[in-house]
């Protein structure tokens, strides 16, 4: 996993609640056996007017000019500003893969679907929970100012405007923060405890042998 360094990025607003993982990456694209290449189909049903199928050349498709991510002012955005319960629904890790592949490095919302939240952290995509009122302010700022950017400082756990006039603190699990900052892989960390896992497994087998028969 890549290290998450301090980020200063353009913000794109997605002003709807309960954006589900089916919307983030529709199921027809889950047939891939790879981890990459999902960005071109991010929010496919909203970004395009025709129905997308895997393998189809996106440059030949009909773009929906009304969808926010298609507007020129948001091209190159790295921070997605969203509403409550972002990423609810299925466990597909293709959702954070698609967001990252598209270029997003952080998503700010008042709350997230839990599996999506975890999946994002494991892929170096930072989900940031801010209060509803703070998210509301950011929505009005991003709508009001062309080229509105935010700075995400993971070390300090603060999201701020570039002029530092506004700054909002956020919480993150210390273990997750450590992994993100250092680009650490979970499996390697867990395997440091092989002996403990083996001891547990033996005790477990002794007390519930039917689980191992």
């Amino acid at each position: 996993m890549e290290k998450f360094l301090k980020l200063e990025g353009l913000v794109a607003p997605l002003d709807r609640a309960n954006v589900d993982t089916d919307a983030i990456i529709p199921k027809q694209f889950l047939k891939s056996i790879k981890r990459s290449g999902f960005g071109v189909n991010l929010f496919d049903a909203w970004r395009f007017k025709d129905v997308g199928e895997p393998g189809v050349d996106v440059s030949k498709r009909t773009v929906n000019p009304d969808f926010v991510l298609n507007q020129s002012r948001y091209q190159g955005a790295q921070i997605l500003l969203a509403r409550k319960n972002f990423g609810c629904g299925s466990s597909r890790e293709h959702a954070p893969w698609a967001l990252s592949d598209f270029g997003f490095k952080a998503v700010i919302a008042p709350s997230f679907g839990e599996i999506f939240f975890n999946n994002s952290l494991k892929n170096g995509l930072l989900p940031i929970v801010l209060r509803e009122s703070e998210v509301e302010q950011l929505f009005s700022d991003v709508n009001a100012f062309d080229g509105f950017k935010l700075i995400v400082n993971l070390e300090e756990q603060v999201v701020s405007t570039v002029d530092l006039a506004k700054a909002f603190a956020f919480d993150i699990d210390p273990f997750r923060k450590h992994c993100l900052l250092n680009g650490l892989d979970d499996i390697g960390l867990t395997l440091q405890h092989v002996d403990q896992i083996k001891q547990f497994e033996e005790r477990h087998r002794a007390s519930q042998p039917w689980l191992f028969s």
Binding site: N18, D22, K27, K31, V51, E114, I115, I187, Q196, W210
Partner: protein, 470 residues
């Protein structure tokens, strides 16, 4: 100290705790399917690792498999590659059991686990699929995981987890005939919202939960994730134990007695405390129908589609407006006036034998309405299908104008050829009514099997209690 069922399951699987409270928990059962596993097996290989305990793995192909013309194999080359990749991965590494495409016992991963006795009380069960919560009906700690976590469980047999909070959903009273676990699930989500359970493990308890069959309990736990909770669970009682007796992988002989004794302890202690308790009254519950594009957008069958004008919260109002446009509905329409084009009885929520029996009972001797273009029944597994055929349910369905299909996920998520066309409206027993879930532009209404069957006969939604007593 008095503990909840969830506390007990957590404690009995905790390998170690980090200083910040994060736990490493041991996983007993790893269910694997073709969509979320290829990248995990690939990651394992790239890192030069091997699965920790292959006999924890039970695998099947379900999401991509066709439900007709099995003799032709899988025609879509991309789907086929995914299923072939699963075959190859299991062949290389092994598993406790694998039910590949075309196997007699193949089916939806959350249907075959319990029916094989591969889901046992007290287990931790994970799968790269959010509806893993289903298995909580057997007093398991069961939840969906992402592909990185699938790889993590393969490599370490453990999962890094934060302990969730405890929520009790207490359903008192008695369910009326034709009101089901599905209606409890929908009513609950309507009440607490799709984020209402976020951060919690839900335990369902109360007289109406005891009344539910194991199938009904699975339906309810299945939809815990739609309420935002990764896990839902129900304590062990006689029904749990009876269900498991004699199944393929259930313990036998002395092991059975020891297991049963332990399983009976899997309940919340008297006096244990919950962070949140929600009360529902089963006596007041009537069949539910979702009208929008989120499972929380649901009303009783005698209700109406909401009017956004009456919603004060701006974000919610816009959500309602957007859903009404997508669903092609006018505010204040009576639910019973909504006509449907297709009917889907299936999915890991409602494709078990009891679901099919109830639906068959409703349609017996009647015929699907003329305006319904397609009504299909997709059994949850090969074994469910065989049992239904033994009971003659397939004939009842076919005589009523339904199609009787091969098992799989099918139109629950429409990764195969079973899907809604743009604008088509479906009465569906599945669990998600998100935009495009059953096909781009398709419109999904979530209902119970009895309600879907009744809608097929009438061509629009109808209170099944009226139809069934006529």
């Amino acid at each position: 100290m008095a503990r909840t069922l969830y506390d007990k399951l957590w404690d009995s699987h905790l390998v170690r705790t980090e200083s910040d409270g994060t736990g490493l928990i041991y996983i007993d059962r790893h269910l694997v399917h073709e969509v979320t596993s290829p990248q995990a097996f690939e990651g394992l290989k790239l890192a030069g690792r091997k699965p920790w305990r292959v006999d924890s793995i039970v695998a099947t192909a379900d999401h991509n498999t066709p439900t007709t013309d099995w003799d032709k194999g899988i025609e879509d080359p991309i789907s086929k590659l995914q299923v072939d990749t699963l075959d190859a991965n299991i062949r290389e590494h092994g598993a406790k059991a694998y039910f590949p495409f075309l196997d007699q016992r193949q089916g939806i991963v959350h249907v075959i686990g319990p029916e094989q006795g591969a889901t046992l009380p007290g287990m931790t069960v994970v799968c790269g699929d959010s509806h893993t919560s289903t298995h909580g009906a057997f007093a398991c700690l069961a939840h969906g995981i992402g592909t990185s976590e699938v790889e993590h469980v393969l490599a370490t047999q453990c999962l890094v987890q934060k302990k969730m909070k405890n929520m009790l959903v207490r359903v008192s009273g008695t369910l009326a005939p034709w009101v089901s676990g599905k209606d409890i699930a929908l009513a609950l989500i309507g009440k607490i919202g799709t984020a209402g359970g976020t951060g919690y493990a839900i335990e369902f308890a109360g007289s109406a939960i005891s009344q539910l069959s194991m199938e009904g309990r699975m339906t309810l736990c299945n939809m815990a994730i739609e309420a935002g909770a990764r896990a839902g669970m129900i304590a062990v009682d006689d029904k749990t134990v009876d269900y498991l007796h004699g199944l393929n992988f259930s313990p036998k002989g002395e092991l059975w007695s020891a297991a049963e004794k332990y399983w009976r302890t899997l309940r919340t202690d008297d006096g244990a405390s919950f962070d949140l308790t929600i009360d529902l009254d089963a006596d007041q519950l009537i069949p539910q129908v979702s009208w929008g594009t989120s499972p929380e957008m649901v009303v009783p069958v005698d209700g109406r589609v909401p009017d956004p004008e009456k919603e004060k919260d701006e974000v919610k109002r816009e959500g309602i407006e957007r859903s009404l446009v997508y669903m092609g509905l006018q505010p204040n329409t009576q639910i019973a006036d909504i006509k449907i084009d297709k009917v889907f009885i299936g999915s890991c929520t409602n494709s078990r034998i009891e679901d099919l029996r109830i639906a068959a009972h409703v349609v017996r001797g009647k015929h699907v309405a003329n305006n319904v273009k397609l009504a299909m029944v997709v059994p949850g597994s090969g074994l469910v299908k065989a049992q239904a055929e033994k009971e003659g349910l397939d004939k009842i369905f076919v005589e009523s104008g339904f199609e009787w299909r091969q098992p799989g996920c099918s139109m629950c998520l429409a990764m195969n050829n079973d899907r809604l066309e743009p604008g088509e409206r479906c009465a569906s027993t599945s669990n998600r009514n998100f935009e495009g879930r059953q096909g781009a532009g398709g419109r999904t209404h979530l209902v119970s099997p009895a309600m879907a069957a009744a809608a097929a006969i009438e061509g629009h939604f109808v209170d099944v209690r009226r139809l069934a007593t006529n």
